[in-house]
């Protein structure tokens, strides 16, 4: 088959700039073949090369006493003690999910799972962080329905429980939803595997599903903005087969028990191209592949198509010489292909042959490491001052605070998402001690007394209003959720969802948000172990809110520390850790009740944050805390209301007295940071007070649990609502949009 000649049009169609093409000429010392051009274009796409983000991401703290593997591998690895490690990572699948929500989300789940078991870990949990436009629009309901069904359809069948996540709604996500999936697995510390092609002469084995034409140029597609023709790109979205992936998990984990595997990487974005050249680059070796040997499910595929296909459920393995039969036997048990397609070479070249004909020959290290790096111009947007301007005195006080509370509880961002997570198997593997719907999920670690707590968070509105603060809060809140659930935060992964980085305003948002995440990670001592960057989240020139999503991992010293957000008994006292300030900027209240996205987000003092978290964790570990709930979206009133109604089996009322002289709406619905609401036995109050004093944290007794009403009094307000009304607003809101209940 003759490959087309390289023309200016073909170069442009591969989204390569003139400078990038010149660089290719330099590296090769000649004109690239068509296949080589395709390989460069996917490897140098934003999605694979991080060319616009690298200079910023280097500011992340990436090491710490528990970090065994930071960014740069398939996933990060954290030491959990007792010979166990957590392998975890988060990835976005925003673009495909907009184009084809079911398959987009499904393959997002499949892709991140492969990153985890590739390292030798059994994947034990998934979390999804989702952002959609308002549910009042049919298109958004379709997107959300499709994404949730895709996660459910793939995650349930592949046998990895989706134990929770979050769903947030805002207009800016209408034409560009965010689908970020976190997967975590557990591996013995002495059985970790890495993506290195080592040992010259070792066979390179292709394992898993056959290669088809789906997903060609998926990585490039994910590196461009949307226009009205985006739907025409459906063919670039891959199609997932969870059954095949389940078999692949079992076969790979079984293979990893034998002593044959040298290196392994999944074929995700940029498929066979990325996996082979990255493994060679990391191993300091070369790789030679004959694409005629690659199992295919379609006739007549060109080398270009085989190398760029993003067909799912495929792995590339490097095994010891002579181990081919063992590999074949294990994969045959699961009716999967495992075919030797090439070998590791010593010349550092990624060589692709079609039979005897060489169709690509590229220095692997240059392809991976010499990818362009851009210091994109940064400009603080001219409108940044305008959106930060907020005169609180201009905001009229609501007439009925009870109505406001009900409105907030029914706001889809705050309302119960049980309708979503009840479609996910969140119990498989018998680890789920605290499931979806509380601050963080808590899983036990079988064979130990420990547990892990994981939470995802990220407030796009805050980050839009002030990217640096938004970045800090994403980390602080994720950590707070972990602490409120009884865990000590130890490390993060992240997904950074932004617009087009070639626009200086977007690059500024990115740089600032990264700086914020980095600052918080440093002070809260939670290094970054990996993650992913998703740029070009815009449609018709309008970007989503800059949305950094942080996935926080925490460790519970003892599983009995697991704590949830709901009141446990009548007659307990309710206390607030931390202080409420007059902060309304960026709040859900301002958006829902006043239609404003305005002001500065709440301030966050990271040193105070650390003390509040330390205090809460110590009180939990001392067995003094019956419930703990981070105070965030919707403020104190919503936090208290959720304490009452979020356990449907045991709703318990509350009677609270807020003596503060702040503006009532700020007091009730403001989103001041570093606050946690606890309930405890009255007899334990003094001990909690003593711990708080030790940490220098304000602790205020604000009320008592009991009864079947939500009562909240202040100097100028008096809310008194039956729990049934709160429950109806909070639990009923999301299903109503989908015609249920």
């Amino acid at each position: 088959m003759k490959e087309p000649a390289i023309t200016q049009e073909i170069i442009a169609a591969h989204s390569l700039t003139h400078e990038e093409y010149q660089r290719i000429l330099e590296i090769l010392g000649r004109e690239p073949t068509f296949t080589e051009l395709g390989i460069f274009s996917v490897m140098w796409s934003e999605h694979c090369s991080y060319k616009s983000s690298k200079v910023h991401l280097q500011h992340f703290p990436t090491s710490g006493p528990r970090v065994l593997q930071g960014p740069g591998e398939n996933a990060g690895v954290v030491d959990l003690g007792e010979g166990l490690t957590a392998v975890f990572k988060m990835e976005s699948h925003n673009h495909p999910s907009y184009i084809e929500p079911y398959q987009g989300a499904a393959t997002g789940v499949g892709g991140i799972i492969r990153d985890i078991f590739t390292m030798g870990a059994r994947p034990i949990m998934l979390l999804d962080s989702l952002r959609f436009g308002p549910l009042t629009e049919a298109k958004n309901r379709y997107l959300m329905g499709g994404v949730v069904a895709g996660i459910s359809g793939y995650g349930n069948a592949v046998g990895v429980p989706t134990v929770g996540g979050e769903v947030v709604f805002d207009d800016c996500y209408s034409h560009n939803p965010l689908v970020n999936v976190l997967c975590l697995g557990i591996a013995p510390i002495d059985k970790l595997f890495f993506a290195h092609a080592g040992g010259i002469g070792n066979p390179v084995i292709y394992a898993g599903a056959k290669t088809g034409r789906d997903g060609i140029h998926g990585a490039t597609m994910a590196s461009e903005t949307f226009d009205e023709k985006s739907e025409e790109r459906r063919p670039t979205v891959q199609v997932g087969d969870p059954f095949r992936e389940k078999l692949l998990i079992e076969a790979c984990l079984e293979l990893m028990q034998t002593d044959t595997l040298v290196g392994v990487q999944d074929m995700g974005a940029a498929g066979l191209t990325c996996s082979s050249c990255e493994m060679a680059s990391r191993g300091g070796t070369g790789v030679e592949i004959d694409i005629q040997l690659v199992p295919r499910r379609e006739e007549g595929m060109s080398p270009y198509e085989v190398m760029l296909s993003e067909s799912q459920e495929r792995m590339l393995l490097v095994v010891r010489q002579g181990a081919e039969a063992t590999v074949r036997e294990i994969f045959a048990k699961y009716d999967l292909d495992a075919v030797v397609v090439g070998r590791v070479t010593g010349d550092g070249v990624m060589r692709v042959r079609e039979g005897k004909r060489t169709v690509a020959s590229i220095p692997a290290k240059a392809l991976v490491d010499d990818a362009p790096v851009y210091h994109r111009p940064l400009t603080r947007p001219a409108w940044q001052d305008d959106i930060q301007r907020l005169n609180v005195d201009d905001i009229p006080l609501p007439r009925d605070y009870g109505d406001v509370l009900l409105q907030l509880l029914a706001s889809p961002t705050i309302a119960s998402k049980a309708m979503v997570w009840e479609q996910y198997d969140h119990m498989l593997f018998l680890n789920t001690v605290v499931g979806p719907g509380s601050d963080a999920v808590v899983l036990r670690l079988k064979g130990t007394e420990k547990g892990i707590a994981v939470s995802t968070d990220g407030n796009g509105r805050y980050t839009f209003l002030d990217p640096f603060t938004g970045g800090m809060i994403a980390v602080a809140e994720a950590a707070r959720n972990v602490v409120a659930s009884g865990g000590e935060p130890v490390a993060i992964t992240n997904c950074l969802n932004f617009g087009d980085p070639t626009r200086p305003e977007i690059s500024w948002q990115f740089a600032e948000a990264v700086r914020g995440v980095a600052a918080a990670c440093r002070i809260l001592q939670t290094p970054v172990t990996g993650g992913n960057v998703s740029f070009y989240n815009e449609t018709m020139g309008k970007a989503v809110f800059p949305t950094p999503i942080v996935g926080m991992l925490g460790i519970l010293a003892h599983i009995s520390h697991a704590t949830t957000q709901t009141w446990k008994e009548t007659g307990d006292v309710v206390v607030l850790l931390g202080e409420t300030r007059e902060e309304l900027g960026g709040s859900e209240y301002l958006k829902v009740c006043h239609g404003m996205v305005q002001g500065r987000p709440p301030t966050v003092d990271l040193e105070l944050e650390r003390r509040v978290q330390g205090c809460c964790l110590e009180a939990i570990r001392a067995g003094l805390v019956r419930s703990a709930h981070d105070c965030s979206d919707g403020g104190l009133a919503v936090t208290l209301a959720e304490g009452c109604v979020s356990n449907p089996d045991k709703p318990i009322g509350v009677d609270v007295n807020l003596a503060d002289s702040l503006r009532p709406d700020a007091l009730l619905f403001g989103e001041s940071q570093s606050r946690i609401v606890l309930s405890l036995r009255e007899a334990d109050l003094n001990r909690v007070q003593a711990i708080a004093d030790h940490y220098g944290v304000a602790v205020t007794l604000i009320g008592r649990t009991g009864g079947s009403r939500f009562i909240c009094k202040g100097q100028t307000f008096h809310l008194d609502l039956p729990l049934s009304l709160l429950d109806q607003a909070w639990r009923g809101a999301v299903p109503t949009y989908f015609g249920q209940r």
């Binding site: 459910s152 359809g153 349930n156 069948a157 046998g159 087969d241 969870p242 059954f243 095949r244 389940k246 078999l247 048990k333 699961y334 009716d335 997570w421 009840e422 479609q423 996910y424 198997d425 969140h426 119990m427 498989l428 593997f429 018998l430 789920t432 001690v433 036990r444 079988k446 599983i559 089996d649 249920q740």
Partner: protein, 236 residues
């Protein structure tokens, strides 16, 4: 007792069943791959939940052709115990070891949540230590769990007390609200006429330890074990 947990490609609750039987209840419990043809020496077979062969066709429709199924049938015919949970129940129905079929939930959604089920008859080896009308809190986790059988079959099941579990509310009362998947006659589990084969949609293995929220499903496994012991002591 010696349990075999049959692992089909796509099964995913096998490790959970093994955990409960072995780690929690101290029984011998081995995983047996679906290509195995010999099941001699096992007292009870467990067909666990999951998506056998991907379940891209009707659930269980492919699994019934798995090589192991001949031996499963033989074991059942010989009076050995067979427990099918969720996908295992679907497979037993497809294989003709139990009556009825499992259709798509009326909501057309996958449902994963705790439900209450009532023990309709303690007169099976799987419910022997339960009291009649005992209410158990056990999770469901399925897309196709709506039990259906024709009128004649249903009448026969009822006449023979083969309906073992029904969905109820927390007070133990039959109600449509508690019947989340829309099962015929609120049926959550049935046994065969000989009462040695049981299938149910709820997952008792997910409710076997209090740390996970409920331990009330454990009684099924405890019943099996005590029935098994009774059986082996009579045979001695």
């Amino acid at each position: 007792m010696r349990f075999a947990i049959i692992v089909f490609p796509g099964s995913n609750c096998e490790l959970d069943c093994q955990w409960v039987l072995h780690k929690v209840l101290g029984q011998e419990a081995e995983l047996v791959w679906h290509k195995e043809k010999d099941l001699k020496g096992y007292d009870c077979l467990v067909l666990p939940g999951g998506f056998a062969h991907g379940d891209y066709l009707r659930t269980g429709a492919v699994a019934r052709f798995s090589p192991v199924m001949q031996a499963v049938k033989q074991h059942a015919r010989g009076g050995g115990l067979v427990l099918g949970i969720c996908n295992g129940f679907q497979i037993l129905c497809e294989a003709g070891l139990l009556s009825g079929v499992l259709l798509r939930n009326t909501s057309l959604n996958f449902i994963c949540r705790d439900v209450y089920m009532r023990v309709e008859t303690p007169e099976t080896p799987f419910t022997a230590t339960c009291t009649a009308r005992q209410v158990l809190r056990v999770p469901i986790n399925h897309n196709e769990g709506r039990y259906y059988a024709d009128a004649e079959t249903l009448a026969r099941l009822k006449d023979n007390s083969q309906v073992v579990f029904r969905y109820v509310n927390s007070a133990g009362e039959i109600s449509d609200e508690a019947n989340l998947n829309g099962s015929l006659d609120h049926i959550a589990g049935v046994c065969n006429e000989q009462r040695n084969v049981l299938g149910l949609m709820p997952h008792p293995e997910r409710a076997a330890e209090t740390v996970l929220g409920s331990a009330s499903g454990r009684i099924l496994f405890e019943s099996i074990i005590s029935s098994g012991q009774a059986l082996s002591s009579t045979s001695r």
